[in-house]
């Protein structure tokens, strides 16, 4: 006869630990990245320094397009023509490892660490 219980205490603890671990991973303070790396269908289109504000029009796959906006030390997406607009609703990203993905357009914007050093101002 199969197990028809909802959950045993051991399983519960296991899952709570799993959730806690994931939460820790998710909210672990990241390092400030240096550049936004733009890819389409796996191919790198360009790298854009986060401290150089600019707007980059991107032609994605399947006819969808969007604009990569670098502003205020972070990157976000605007003017997306993809159907779900998930990429556009994503908050601006600036930490190493963070990414914004447009699935229909197969475009990703990933932050890579140029910096890894938090600072109040940059000399030079």
């Amino acid at each position: 006869m199969e197990n028809r219980r909802f959950m045993t205490p051991r399983e519960g603890v296991c899952l709570v630990l799993l959730a806690a671990g994931l939460a820790l991973w998710l909210f672990w303070p990241g390092r400030t990245g240096g550049q936004a790396v733009l890819t389409r269908s796996g191919e790198e289109l360009g790298r854009y320094a986060l401290n150089a504000p600019q707007r980059v029009p991107v032609q994605g796959a399947n006819g969808f397009s969007l604009t990569l906006v670098v502003e205020g030390g972070a990157a976000h997406v605007e003017d997306s023509t993809c159907p779900d607009l998930i990429c556009q609703r994503h908050a601006p990203i600036s930490r190493t490892g963070e990414a914004i993905i447009c699935l229909p357009g197969q475009v990703t914007v990933t932050i890579e660490g140029g910096d890894r050093l938090e600072q109040d101002a940059l000399s030079g």
Partner: protein
């Protein structure tokens, strides 16, 4: 161990049950599309339709359960999605079904099975995204999506347990 006997004892009841679950899955998928879950975690869906897969696992023997899941993926993909969403839900559905089946076979309880289903559903989706996009950026969404999978799996499991208890009582 779990050899799922058919609680529904006549063929007619089994087919009726199967059809009902299938209809339910379409309804739930439709409902899910109305909810703005994207706001919290980009691309995450509540996975309400997984409820049906869970029930299938506990109400039918393996071949029927697989059939139910496959039909779910095909139907919702055709009705509500495009090629890409079909690929994502196929991968997610297959991986989550496998995980749930194995957990159930290994004697885990319903809630645990459901959570694993939710988690691996998202693992599958992200795996496909990674294969297509080839970008490490997909990794960035892993913790959020997995966490959402845990939450969704738990919720679906709770509702599923209620439904299944009722059904079992009516069949036994």
């Amino acid at each position: 161990m779990s050899r799922t006997p058919f609680p529904a004892d006549t063929p007619a009841k089994r087919v009726a049950l199967f059809g009902m679950l299938l209809a339910l899955t379409v309804a739930l998928s439709w409902l899910e599309r109305l909810l703005p879950t994207d706001a919290v975690v980009p691309g995450a869906k509540l996975g309400l339709a997984n409820l049906v897969v869970l029930c299938g696992l506990y109400l039918f023997p393996l071949p029927w359960a697989v059939g139910l899941t496959a039909l779910k993926v095909a139907l919702t993909g055709l009705l509500f999605g495009n090629f890409y969403s079909l690929a994502y839900s196929a991968a997610g559905g297959a991986l989550s079904f496998l995980a749930m089946y194995l957990c159930k076979r290994w004697g885990r309880s319903m809630g645990f099975v459901s959570v694993m289903g939710g988690v691996f559903h998202n693992v599958g989706q992200l795996a496909v995204a990674w294969a297509i996009l080839g970008s490490m950026g997909v990794l960035a969404h892993l913790p959020a999506m997995l966490l959402a999978g845990v939450g969704a799996g738990a919720a679906v499991g709770a509702v599923g347990a209620l439904i299944l208890r009722r059904l079992w009582r009516s069949f036994d």
